[in-house]
């Protein structure tokens, strides 16, 4: 494997990890506030659809981004209505949202565009452009560092950089601000927050709003990358993000590593689909399952017990 190949694989890793990272952070905020969110997949899909639709119609991916965030937010609020306001089961609500997104995106898309649930393809400003960081071109020829900078670090879309910036930002919000303190507290012991005079409901909704924004970005990223929406295009990334979240033990920096790891494994699987060892050819299916197999192995061997936020999954019922 030469240097260029390694860079390409890493480059692919970053692209594949970006939506996972944003989704994972979305899950991080809501679960840290005690709202378990298996509806990430649905939000991702809804956001991809609305951003694709809006970008196709307006020709601007930034407007698409707004629409994607709005869609994901709407789903978040529905989740909040069910699991916060009406103290319903968060898991059921999440499952329902996933189904809802899978169905609604196609039904609405078909009725709007008559393309079988697809949106028209996005072109020009309808997609994010790759950002070339300063001096990228000039430095490209510098040995070792140059390609690294040019290929790997530079040349991604705005959302990739935003996603990466979200990691320290999330960390800072969670651990360095009043809001973060209350948010974490609400996921650990909501009655402590309540008796301290802070509204649990408001904190939880706030966390879902943040999750909505992040998922909205992730969905828009997918739509932009694929230049349009195709039904079911989230393709299980919401679940993988959830896995990454547990992997990351609900911490922002770990989330970055976890999603990069998943991205990397997928990139490897894409690049090396069948490897022949003499007469024996490792089947494609094995290479494609490799990320999942490795995840299990890593979980079994290296990651200790992941302790979720204690109040996660339970609605806060005061009059117990």
């Amino acid at each position: 494997m030469d240097y260029a190949t390694i860079l390409q694989i890493l480059d692919s890793t970053v692209r594949l990890a970006t939506p996972l990272l944003l989704t994972c952070l979305a899950g991080l905020f809501s679960e840290r506030a005690g709202v378990v969110d298996i509806g990430l997949e649905g939000k991702l899909l809804a956001a991809a659809f609305m951003s694709g639709a809006a970008a196709a119609v307006t020709g601007s991916i930034w407007l698409g981004l707004l629409a994607g965030i709005a869609a994901s937010m709407a789903f978040s609020m529905l989740h909040g209505l069910a699991s916060i306001t009406f103290k319903g089961d968060q898991l059921i609500s999440g499952v329902a949202l996933n189904f809802l997104a899978a169905g609604l995106t196609v039904v609405i898309g078909q009725s709007w565009f008559q393309l079988g649930g697809r949106t028209p393809p996005l072109t020009g400003n309808g997609r994010f452009e790759a950002w070339n960081l300063p001096f990228a071109e000039k430095l490209a020829d510098v040995p070792f560092i140059g390609p690294l900078y040019y290929e790997l670090i530079s040349g991604h879309t705005a959302l990739t950089y935003i996603a990466i910036a979200c990691v320290p930002l999330s960390w800072w919000v969670l651990y360095r601000t009043r809001f973060g303190l209350r948010l974490r507290a609400v996921g650990e012991n909501p009655s402590a927050v309540d008796t301290a005079g802070v509204s649990v409901v408001r904190m939880r909704y706030a966390s879902l709003i943040i999750a909505g924004v992040l998922c909205g970005m992730a969905g828009t990223y997918l739509a932009s990358l694929a230049a349009g929406f195709v039904k079911d295009m989230s393709a299980g990334r919401g679940y993988i993000a959830l896995a990454a979240l547990i992997f990351a033990k609900w911490r922002p920096w770990y989330a970055l590593s976890a999603t990069l790891l998943f991205g990397f494994l997928e990139a490897i699987g894409n690049r090396y689909q069948s490897i022949s060892l003499g007469d024996f050819v490792i089947p494609v299916q094995f290479m494609q399952a490799l990320p999942y197999i490795l995840t299990v192995i890593i979980l079994a061997g290296f990651v200790g017990k992941a302790i979720p936020p204690r109040a996660g999954g339970q609605p806060y019922v005061k009059e117990r």
Binding site: L78, L81, A82, S83, F86, K87, G88, D89, Q90, L91, I92, S93, V95, A96, L97, N98, F99, L100, A102, G103, L104, T105, V106, V107, I108, Q110, S111, G117, K231, G236, Y239, I240, L242, A243, I246, F247, P283, Q285, F286, Q288, A289, Y292, I293, T295, V296, L299, A300, G301, V303, G304, K305, A306
Partner: protein, 365 residues
């Protein structure tokens, strides 16, 4: 003292919730320019109007009972087994292997063997996540998600490279021998002079599913094992105090859960397709989650919820056959049903409770 009579809790709330879900589904149908009343009629008619439709409804119901029960067992142990899909796939493999390996003389012999193999394979697929959860604390939610993906890859490989009929297009095994054919409702009911549509796929597995639900009930509420499972699920510390071995319970419960998911294969693989096809589970594993949650992990609830989803599946199919409504609309309706009956039930419960309280106060006065 109760806030509300039990029957109201069990009957009125689901009823109103479903009505609400249907109301919003109607809005969506109306929104895409179709007539919701017509749609409902088509669905009900299609699902229950003929023995053909009923046969399909019950066929889907059977799948969902198995996966619903599967999820419920794990759920009572406070394990979120999201891996029903993969376990059911492996169950299919087990059933296919046993059906193809032996030239079965009669289904009465084939069915028990298939049940055993299906359950065994499903349980085996659940074992690794269970073991890792019990002994290494690896989160079962991730491991079972991963095992779904791995199962799909494994079956993809086996069906395209190993078990496929050479020269055939489709990634599927050969057809099972006639002796492995399970009696359909048509064949079962004909001796009683009842004419059930002979093409509907509902088969004897439905009875197995009902029996499984009954056994589930016995297991959970009448046996020591069920008692221990529920105790552990409610409080791990208390279970330790009582001398209940946590690892043992986790593993046993997951084996039962995987086994039940694997059992589903007698319906879709052996009963319907009579061969193992790619993606034979078709998301029934995930629907099982919704079914169990909606059925409140109780067998009666699960059977009823499975029937509701069977109805939605079959009624929805009719909708797309005859009304040119996109098939995804059914998914929307399913979503709304899950949402309203499963997650937003308090929206109905709170006003109802107030009402009952109001009337009971009034009576006192």
């Amino acid at each position: 003292m109760q806030k509300m009579p039990k029957w109201a809790d069990a009957v009125l709330i689901p009823l109103f919730s479903i009505l609400l879900a249907f109301f919003f589904s109607g809005l969506v149908i109306w929104g895409i320019g179709k007539n919701p009343f017509e749609a409902i009629k088509v669905m009900v008619d299609g699902a229950f109007g003929s023995t053909n439709g009923l046969g399909y409804t019950l066929y889907y119901t059977t799948n969902f009972i198995f996966t619903g029960l599967s999820f419920a067992v794990a759920s009572h142990t406070r394990l979120f087994n999201i891996g029903g899909e993969g376990q059911a796939m492996l169950g299919g493999l087990g059933v296919a292997l046993v059906c193809l390996a032996v030239q079965w003389p009669h289904w009465t012999l084939a069915l028990p063997a298939a049940m055993a193999m299906g359950a065994l394979f499903g349980a085996a697929w659940a074992f690794i996540p269970a073991y890792l959860q019990a002994k290494r604390g690896s989160h079962i939610v991730i491991t079972t998600i991963m095992f779904n993906f791995i199962a799909a890859a494994l079956l993809g490989y086996l069906l395209t490279k190993v078990l496929k009929v050479p020269g055939a297009m489709a990634a599927e095994t050969a057809k099972f021998p006639v002796g492995a054919h399970l009696p359909t409702f048509h064949e079962m009911l004909a001796p009683f002079g009842i004419d059930f549509n002979k093409n509907a796929p509902a088969n004897v597995s439905f009875l197995v599913a009902l029996f499984a639900a009954f056994v589930f009930w016995i297991l959970m509420w009448k046996t020591r094992l069920g008692y221990q499972i529920r105790a552990f699920g409610n409080s791990e510390t208390a279970a330790k105090y009582a001398g209940i071995n946590p690892s043992r319970i986790v593993i046993i419960a997951m084996l039962i859960s995987g086994g039940l998911a694997g059992l589903m294969a007698i319906n879709n693989v052996m009963g319907e397709a009579e061969r193992l096809i790619d993606n034979a589970v078709e998301g029934a594993g995930f629907i099982g989650i919704a079914v169990a949650l909606m059925g409140r992990n109780h067998p009666v609830g699960i059977v009823l919820a499975a029937l509701l989803f069977g109805f939605l599946y079959q009624g929805g199919a009719e909708l797309s056959f005859w009304e040119s409504i996109p098939r995804e609309l059914v998914v929307v309706i399913q979503a709304l049903v899950i949402m309203f009956t499963g997650a937003l039930d308090n929206m109905v419960r709170i006003p109802l409770e107030k009402m009952f309280l109001f009337f009971s106060r009034k009576k006192e006065v």
